[in-house]
Subunit: 445 residues, 2 copies
Amino acid sequence: MEQYRTPIALDQVRITDELYGPMLRLVAERVLPYQWEALNDRVPGTEKSHCLDNFRVAAGDLPGRHQGAIFQDTDLYKWLEAVAYCIANGTGKHLLPLAQEAAVLIARAQEPDGYLNTYITIECPEKRWSNLAEGHELYGAGHLIEAAVAYYRATGEKLLLDTAQRFADLIDRTFGAEDGKCHGYPGHQEIELALVKLYRATGEKRYLHLADYFIRQRGQKPNYLLAEMAGRKGRNVFPEFCEYDDKYAQTHLSPLEQTTAEGHAVRAVYMYSAMADLALELGDPEMARAAETLYNNIVQRRMYITGGIGSSGKLERFTADFDLPNDRMYCESCASIGLMMFAQRMAALTGEARYYDTVELALSNTVLAGISREGDRYFYVNPLEVWPDNCLPSTSMSHVKPVRQRGAPVHRPHRRRRAAVSDRRHLRHDHQRRLEHRHLPGRSP
Amino acid sequence: MEQYRTPIALDQVRITDELYGPMLRLVAERVLPYQWEALNDRVPGTEKSHCLDNFRVAAGDLPGRHQGAIFQDTDLYKWLEAVAYCIANGTGKHLLPLAQEAAVLIARAQEPDGYLNTYITIECPEKRWSNLAEGHELYGAGHLIEAAVAYYRATGEKLLLDTAQRFADLIDRTFGAEDGKCHGYPGHQEIELALVKLYRATGEKRYLHLADYFIRQRGQKPNYLLAEMAGRKGRNVFPEFCEYDDKYAQTHLSPLEQTTAEGHAVRAVYMYSAMADLALELGDPEMARAAETLYNNIVQRRMYITGGIGSSGKLERFTADFDLPNDRMYCESCASIGLMMFAQRMAALTGEARYYDTVELALSNTVLAGISREGDRYFYVNPLEVWPDNCLPSTSMSHVKPVRQRGAPVHRPHRRRRAAVSDRRHLRHDHQRRLEHRHLPGRSP
């Protein structure tokens, strides 16, 4: 196991590349302010987000019901994380007042015991943790933690970090292998990698061990998520979950025993990222081997030449080795972002530069191509071949769009946060040497 | 408009072809007796049908709840129709006692006012006709009528015909353009062509006019089915109906104005078949032109070289002109059966032999290939290209099976009834001349 490596702090790097430099400024100057308006339902002619209003209702500032998706809170968290990176990279100082307003509102929507999810708080407080497979409570907690850590690192401001920690502590008291705790784990992985970040920001080892519990509990028999789904007798939040199976959320085996990339691609690469993080932080060779095996399966057998992953339009998932159709694949931008995250962590774990070939592949071809130069239109699905006339709604090709769309808000901040963060990852230190994984013109100390 | 043509009665035709002759005997001697056992839940190791038991519960013979699909009744109707054709073609006399038992049971499950649907009768009698988009009540009525007419023609037995007529009369009193009647129409077309058969068997013109109403009411604004779906706010019986649109059930325009084959392929060709029937029976040139236009769109632009139709795996539907992928299409056997039915009726309407090229194409390639020589395994989906390793559950290729399956009971009798009926359609009379659309060795008067 190689030694721990500290990435160069974001505020120490400046990207001067002619393509990515202007994109980063575009994010800070146009995209994030526009998204703030959208999250506040102040953009005429677009579908309402309800995101900020949900927090206001949960905080008691507004009357009303929860509106929008059950994971709508994460739009604000992703936006805040992107803002934090822009503040750190020097492009986003002007966003500080908005970010501070958001952080205060989030803190006020938190319940006294630390719980934070506006859907549950407003609509059904008695149903906490009762639908882990679909409920996104732990997924939301993960994005809150990521935002809080990024914001703390960018500004030194602790309010959001305190909020995130209080929620993380509640989760730590609620979930675990011990008797009396819930033996569940997230239906959508995300919190695992966030908890590693929270450990790094706070030094509190319990977050690392909670992440490790979530990984190691996954795939144990009896299958927690399948049992929960069976109890709902098909009354699912997401209609497409009528085809839910144990591979979908990577619960078919212990992650340590998994050798092929399976199921929902975003869930998968988020989990693999956390596994690489945990292998590094805990010095766990078994976890490192599992992550390496999964990485190799992806890049050697289940990844497109564009860095796209996820061959199935249905359920946005991996399929089989070398099943890489040109036209009907999903290959969502978010999955390639997750693949970049995974590859970056494998590079940190091993010190090997080759993982950055995958980062570059996915960034240059799929992630970058997913966004228009103006920053306001998106490809969510990234096929190699498109017949525009055949991309019809309510058919097996309905996920494929021949032109970039005004995307669902949930994904916009996500891609923004990646665009904003990507500069940091290209330079890393370790104790002995300086590792340069740089593909872009820029400067650092 | 050409004059009315009478098909040669089934009992006047004997198929001596070396391929189809033995298949017809196989249906009568092995398949239909086996299916009777399956419908009675007496086949060990297979999923229970519950079909006969549902009728027994509705008739008061058994306690209990409805089980199985909401359209489970139609399995028995399709089985009875196939039995009737086998009796007529001389292969199925031994099935008469079983058929008579089924007919008596069906009659006893009928409600006093003529209503007949075991799911509604057992589970929610107050919800009659409240979910036309999904409920299959009219679809079930159609299959009951088809079975009753076939059984009457094969045996002269009127019990089932009386049952069907009482239900048809209730439907006639319930639905129509007049004030005070429900202005709805079937979510799954089938009853339209069945009502034409009922008219032919009984001479009662009101059935013809009810079929004509169902066709002409379809696609009128406001859209009846979409309004009904909206009122359910996503609480659908079928999860995949979250992507329901007006083309799915051919309600986007009046059928008379439709020029392209759209939506769910089976629904479409059943409706087009009824349109051809009505054009003939009512001497309606507008209806004839619409049917001809839709037929040409299919065979010139939306049909595979195998006679398969329905390019979209999602929602089993038509897509766009010349969108004919080799691997991911649906092309369900039932849709090609429906296409045969449509083409046969176009031949009857016009007297032109060319429509039988399509019948032969679909029969020889898709319908026939859908059944194993032993008669016990089925392809439901009929692609041109299959990569077995990629046909994974819960993916966009999950509908494709690399080997024939033990199919869902709903579709087995369906294919049996086509195999049993196909011989009749190869010979037709009209008043002036004898039309031979014969591709098979056989004899007739």
